[in-house]
């Protein structure tokens, strides 16, 4: 049960070693940097040190209580990330798969709209626009 914010890459396989031992179901999700049809070479991700860790821990604890998770892990990177690199991962462990899947979706919906990260596009010519929030991401929270 942990949340981490880091610049360095992570190894999902290593992160999952021993994760959820004793649970019946483990779900993992990882988000990668898209190339947006060749428009992007990288993303620059900014965050709010201190608040980020608090928010991720709070959402992880809320998911654990709501879905009865036996374990959870959130890792989110910041800094410059090249196309294809991992941005973040969530892993959830529960007795049965439905709770593990739902908890992973719940965490992703909260992370996208409520965790203090901001993405900036970097194209072949250098830094471009800040990524705008999608209304669909905000709407997704209403289902919880």
């Amino acid at each position: 049960m942990s949340a981490r914010v880091q610049r360095a890459p992570f190894d999902i396989g290593a992160e999952l070693a021993g994760f959820g031992a004793g649970a019946g179901a483990v779900v993992t999700f990882s988000g990668l940097v898209r190339d947006e049809d060749g428009r992007l070479v990288a993303l620059e991700i900014e965050h709010y040190p201190g608040m980020t860790e608090r928010a991720l821990t709070a959402y992880g604890e809320a998911a654990a209580a709501r879905f009865g998770l036996s374990d959870w892990r959130i890792i989110h990177r910041y800094g410059r990330l090249e196309v294809g690199e991992q941005i973040m991962m969530v892993a959830t462990a529960a007795r049965h798969r439905v709770a593990a899947f739902q908890a992973a979706e719940y965490l992703m919906d909260w992370l996208k709209s409520r965790a203090p990260f901001w993405k900036r596009e970097i194209g072949p010519d250098g830094p471009g626009n800040w990524v705008e929030a999608r209304s669909g991401d905000e709407d997704a929270l209403t289902r919880w």
Binding site: Y48, M88, S113, R114, P116, W118, K119, A133, D137
Partner: protein, 83 residues
């Protein structure tokens, strides 16, 4: 009272600095915004469209009408785009 005011993403860029210490008598976040926007054109521009601005007080998400009493740190930033 004095509060540390933090800016992120394009708010930080438009204002030209990541944080500043502000002496204020503002009772709410909205009053603090009005004070900041009156400081110079950069603050005014960054804070001109409040529908695009989110706020946190002492690292908890809040809103413009929240009271500032006791706040140590107030952050302004655009809607978040994590994940």
């Amino acid at each position: 009272m004095a509060v540390d005011v933090l800016y992120f993403a394009w708010l930080r860029e438009r204002i030209g600095q990541p944080r500043e210490r502000i002496e204020t008598q503002a009772a709410t976040v909205r009053e603090l915004v009005a004070q900041l926007a009156a400081m110079d054109e950069w603050h005014a521009l960054a804070l001109s469209d409040l529908s695009a601005v989110r706020v946190a007080i002492d690292q908890e998400l809040s809103d413009l009408d929240a009271p500032l009493a006791g706040a140590r740190e107030v952050a302004f930033f655009p809607p978040m785009t994590g994940g």
